[in-house]
Amino acid sequence: MRVDLTRRGGVLEIWAYRELIGRLVQRELGARYKRSVLGWLWSMLNPAATLAIYALVFGVLLRFDPPRAGNGRFDNFALYLFCALVMWNAFYGVITGAMNALLDLGSLLGKVYFPPEAPAVAALCTVLFQTSIEASILMLILISLANVSWTFLLWPVLAVLLAIFALGIGLVLSVWNVRYRDVGYLTTIALQFLFYVTPIVYPLSLIPERAIGLPVRDIIRLNPLSQFTETSRELLYGLDWPGMFRLGLMALISLMVGVGGWLVFKASARDIAEEL
């Protein structure tokens, strides 16, 4: 097999390097809870603690009212919150993970060849692993409360769409971050802002139609991430079918962001081995 080094790269190559990606994921997961007494329990304690804090602040103290669950028998702010939070955690994890992974593994790129996407893809896989733990726990709780429907089956599709969406953004930010470290700091701020303009800790209905002369609720609704968190709530909490149109639109946006981000990355990462 003759490889033309001048024109390699592509989706197939990432597949060819799956062994490396698997190794990176294993390493990330393995190193994560080294030297901690509770070890793997942290992967559950961490989101549980976050959830508890938000539920306390926004559900108990600020008394945000959750809608009734899909089976009509209960309403629970913590669960309502969790349905959106699991999406946010995945999004946040992929973005920051991709940025860190490229910086972390960058020095290797100057010594051996591997597709520069590999670190980001490995970060994605690591996050998806965590997400699936969180989602499983969430679904088990909901099932135990008899709030279950076939819409659960659609949730993994939503998660994959989010993964593509987040990877597209993460790839671009990670390569820019190599050139300008400011990108990393700006991203932290942007993510903080994004967290509050996405209906996660509050229901969208809580936002007024208009404020400071702007249609704020519509603006927040237009945020693609809002679609993911809202749809996740509908599927798991409300047991609602979001409709073909919305799903299709989300798929389209995800693919556009994913492919677009990858293309930008390809163009920018061409000579990244020389810059790291």
Partner: protein, 408 residues
């Protein structure tokens, strides 16, 4: 075409030398707006062509040597062959799995243990997990790192790094092995083992591309060689020819640099300088190379700006490993050059060259008559080439002038 493991076709590589790399968005912004940018530091970016239009083919199963002075683009070329750098122009293609050993800690992650790095490296090279699992013990043993293999590699010494790097690179069944001058870091014993292993791999049909400054070793082992001079391919083909061509320019460039540089100006007050060294045969010619047993005349040219009484000249012969082989001094045998002034030369006559095939560098120095003050010293500038077929009847660096006799 298909018999070549690596083919480079018109490869050029351009690096942008950013004198002041914009590290932040602010700087990039000031650069975008030329009006405001002028008030800040000028950000200049120059192009540097590390390689220019290099075309070469490495035949499959051959050992291919690459020579050139520092900064001639050898490492860039290797990185392009390994797929790490992308050529700015031209095409590169490689047939088969390529394993590269480019520098210390070839692709190790400092925080991971040696064992984890073996797996990581293997997966980077595209080796299936099952295959590497069979090899791990072999690799650890080859590197001699049994005790440290489960410690993070950041605590490793540089020798350990290289050993592990080499061990991994050669145990992943590469079809093309690219080795920069890294093997020279290990101790003598490990170097021998490395070369032994390279020999073995070559016998198995592995293509090996090697960079080294050890011309003798390259010439003895390589099937073909290439010489890079300032990013351009200066010669390629038969090792003997390439080495000769390379040595030729080293001499002429050294001579040229001596001619241009006023050492008096450069060094200030020393009144006596060695301007050049010539290697002559009995007829007074300057052959490219000498043969073991030939007579040799080393002519030391000097330039004295003031009269100096009986300076002491000395020579030092070193092999490629910097082993000091001989150091004749002009005080032996009551030699006195008398009062030197202006330009002139002294000669050292060697009746019979004792050195066996190889490349040697000859240092020259001049001291005052009491040998207490060093006027000038020229090291690693003059190269003596001893060529000829290796004599299968003898070993070692020197050929001795002795006879064997039967005991009575």
């Amino acid at each position: 075409m298909s018999n070549n493991a690596v083919v480079l076709d018109g490869v050029s590589k351009c690096f942008r030398l950013t004198m002041d790399r914009p590290l932040s968005l602010k700087e990039a912004w000031t650069r975008l707006r030329p009006s405001s940018g002028r008030r800040f530091r000028r950000v200049s970016s120059e192009q540097f062509w590390a390689l220019q239009d290099v075309s070469l083919a490495v035949p499959r199963g051959s050992m291919y040597g690459l020579v050139g002075r520092n900064g001639s683009g050898k490492s860039s070329l290797l990185r392009i062959m390994a797929g790490i750098y992308r050529p700015s122009e031209g095409r590169v293609s490689v047939q088969g799995r390529t394993s590269a050993l480019l520098e210390l800690g070839a692709g190790f992650h400092p925080a991971l243990t040696g064992r984890e790095n073996i797996y990581l490296n293997a997966s980077v090279l595209g080796v299936p997990k099952v295959q590497i699992e069979d090899r791990v013990e072999q690799i650890i043993q080859f590197a001699g790192l049994e005790e440290f293999i489960d410690s993070p590699v950041k605590i490793y010494s540089s020798g350990m790094y290289v050993r592990l790097g080499f061990a991994v690179a050669v145990h992943v069944d590469p079809e093309v092995l690219i080795v920069d001058e890294v093997v020279a870091v290990g101790d003598e014993e490990f170097q021998l083992r490395c070369f032994g292993h390279l020999e073995m791999l070559r016998a198995q049909g592995v293509t090996i591309v090697l960079v080294s400054h050890d011309l003798g070793m390259l010439r003895a082992n390589c099937d073909q060689m290439a010489w890079l001079n300032r990013g351009k391919l200066a010669a390629a083909g038969d090792p003997q020819d390439v080495v000769n061509a390379y040595l030729d320019t080293i001499d002429t460039e050294a001579a040229a640099s001596v001619g241009h540089r006023s050492r008096l100006d450069a060094q200030g007050h020393s009144p006596l300088h060695i301007t050049s060294l010539e290697f002559l045969d009995e007829a007074g010619n300057r052959p490219k190379s000498f043969a073991t047993g030939d007579p040799l005349i080393v002519r030391i040219h000097y330039c004295a700006s003031a009269p100096i009484q009986d300076p002491v000249f000395s020579l030092g012969f070193y092999n490629h490993n910097n082993l000091h082989l001989a150091g004749p001094r002009s005080v032996v045998g009551g030699f006195r050059p008398g009062k030197v002034h202006g330009t002139g030369w002294v000669e050292y006559h060697l009746h019979r060259i004792p050195f066996r095939t190889g490349t040697f560098h000859v240092n020259a120095a001049v001291q005052d008559s009491q040998a207490s003050f060093l006027y000038d010293r020229r090291a690693r500038e003059f190269w003596l080439q001893i060529s000829g077929e290796p004599d299968p009847q003898a070993n070692g660096l020197l050929s001795l002038d002795g006879d064997w006799q039967v005991g009575s």
